[in-house]
């Protein structure tokens, strides 16, 4: 490897690059297994140095103080009357997903010995006019919430890469703005993939809503974090409602006026996922 790249690699690991150098280096990193291997070596060295420092432990109460701060942020950031937590999903690198799936497959295999019921994943497809829902039966079910999350993430990523693989279709349309959701009713978690939303008008933001069609309760609402792009894959989870039997969920996206702060109920124009399911 040439000395210039070696130099960049060590400065990258030590966080000594400016933002432009860093972005350029990351672009090269993603296309070069050799460079990635060198960075991993340097990261190992760096980690050993940090872990080799004289070990000092923080006081036991510190975690509680941190969690109290997290709760404050959570309450500040959530629309009134509902909980917002749509987080941008970052695709695992190949090594990462391979290792986590290896764990997942092992637990799934054990799970298969104990269960024979076929798990159901709800898949919803949305365009500006309508939603179409399907239930997807899987051969295996994740043993626990973590394994199900991996299952959902793999499925959501597969549909992101290849939307034609979605088990629900929509009538042909010239419009490119579409979205899909995969949701596991058992673990109450899922993913929403938003594709090709137009740039929001000034003063508006896109909100995604998940509403129970039986109780009409808003189960989840949040701002779609487009981050300058026009879509993305977002993960979410829904808190179960005790003593309430959930019906089907309706997913839709609206453009909400930003002037009045965060919206607790949908008032704006529906841009994805019309009224019909």
């Amino acid at each position: 490897m040439n000395p210039e790249l070696e130099d960049l690699a060590s400065r990258y690991v030590l966080d000594q690059l400016d933002s432009r150098e860093r972005a350029d280096f990351e672009a090269r990193l993603l296309g070069s297994p050799e460079l990635l291997a060198r960075v991993r070596e340097l990261e190992s060295a760096y980690a050993r140095i940090i872990r080799g420092l004289p070990q000092q432990e923080p006081p036991p109460h510190l975690l509680a103080r941190i969690e109290a701060r997290l709760s404050e942020f959570h309450e500040e950031g959530a629309p009134a009357g509902s909980v917002a937590r749509f987080t941008k999903w970052t695709f695992f690198a190949r090594w990462g997903i391979a290792a986590t799936i290896a764990v997942g497959v092992a637990t799934l295999a054990i799970q298969n010995l104990r269960r024979d019921t076929r798990p159901v994943i709800v898949v919803v497809r949305m365009d500006p006019n309508q939603s179409t829902l399907a239930e997807l039966h899987l051969g295996t079910r994740g043993a626990d919430s973590d394994a199900r999350f991996i299952q959902l993430a793999s499925l959501a990523e597969k549909y992101w890469q290849n939307p034609d693989a979605l088990p629900v279709s929509l009538p042909a349309s010239k419009r490119m703005d579409r979205a899909y959701a995969v949701f596991d009713p058992e673990s109450n978690q899922g993913f929403i993939g938003v594709q090709q939303l137009p740039t929001p008008k000034a003063g508006t933001r896109y909100y995604v809503w998940i509403v129970d069609t039986v109780t009409h309760r808003i189960r989840k609402a949040g701002i779609v974090p487009l981050d300058g792009g026009n879509g993305g894959l977002f993960s979410f989870s829904i808190a179960p409602v005790q003593g309430e039997k959930s019906g089907r969920l309706r997913f839709f996206v609206t453009a909400e006026d930003n002037a009045g702060g965060q919206s607790a109920t949908p008032h704006g124009r529906v841009v994805l996922g019309g009224k019909e399911i």
């Binding site: 070696e6 130099d7 060590s10 400065r11 690991v13 030590l14 966080d15 000594q16 990351e26 990193l29 960075v39 991993r40 070596e41 340097l42 990261e43 190992s44 060295a45 760096y46 980690a47 050993r48 140095i49 940090i50 872990r51 080799g52 420092l53 004289p54 070990q55 000092q56 432990e57 923080p58 510190l62 975690l63 103080r65 941190i66 969690e67 701060r69 997290l70 942020f73 959570h74 937590r85 987080t87 941008k88 999903w89 970052t90 695709f91 695992f92 690198a93 090594w95 990462g96 391979a98 290792a99 986590t100 764990v103 973590d146 999350f149 991996i150 993430a153 978690q189 993960s235 989870s237």
Partner: protein
């Protein structure tokens, strides 16, 4: 202690970060259990004050919580990512403190006083910890100036250019010392790991 950051560990921790990104507190607590010791030690190394290090560690884990969803495992391992957050939080703190007091950081003062004895604070408390012993041994093998350059790059707010100025060496030499030093440390620590 087993090698802590191999691919399997990194994959597990990437998964924890993914869960934290969805608001999972249990995963956050697990990651805290894994990272709080080394990150607190790093903050202590930067600021040299337990109270300040506790405050900074809080900021670090709040940033981890808020940034977990944007973590990209293709670009760095989770531990490196968390160390970078810690480093930035500590450097911001040192720069603010420097602006407020016009004083050098304790680390810089130590260096200025010790000359070629950089790393003294590592050596003074290293006996209690096996990893620290190995690190101390590995660092002792470096020429004095290279050791200082490496420590400044790792545990101070100085850029490579500033380190070059401090040590009165060309920037290229400093970069080479740091790059070579990291790789040599990796090799030495790998050979001496149990």
């Amino acid at each position: 202690m087993p090698v802590p950051d191999d691919n399997e560990t990194a994959a597990n921790e990437a998964f924890l970060l993914a869960r934290i990104g969805t608001g999972d507190r249990d995963s956050f607590r697990e990651l805290y259990g894994r990272y709080s010791g080394p990150l607190f030690s790093l903050a202590m190394r930067f600021v040299g004050d337990r109270g300040a290090a506790e405050e900074l560690l809080q900021d670090v884990f709040v940033k981890i919580w808020r940034g977990a969803a944007s973590y990209d495992s293709r670009k760095s391992r989770p531990f490196t990512w968390a160390v970078t957050i810690t480093r930035r939080v500590c450097i911001d703190h040192l720069r603010k403190r420097r602006r407020q007091t016009s004083l050098e950081s304790p680390f810089d003062e130590t260096l200025a006083l010790e000359g070629d004895g950089a790393g003294e604070s590592v050596r003074s408390t290293a006996e209690a910890h096996e990893d620290s012993e190995r690190l101390r041994g590995a660092l002792a093998g470096f020429p004095a100036q290279q050791r200082i350059a490496l420590e400044l790059a790792l545990f101070s707010a100085l850029t490579h250019i500033e380190i070059a100025g401090r040590l009165n060496q060309p920037v290229g030499t400093i970069k080479s010392w740091i790059r070579r030093g990291l790789l040599d440390l990796h090799d030495t620590l790998s050979k001496t790991s149990p």
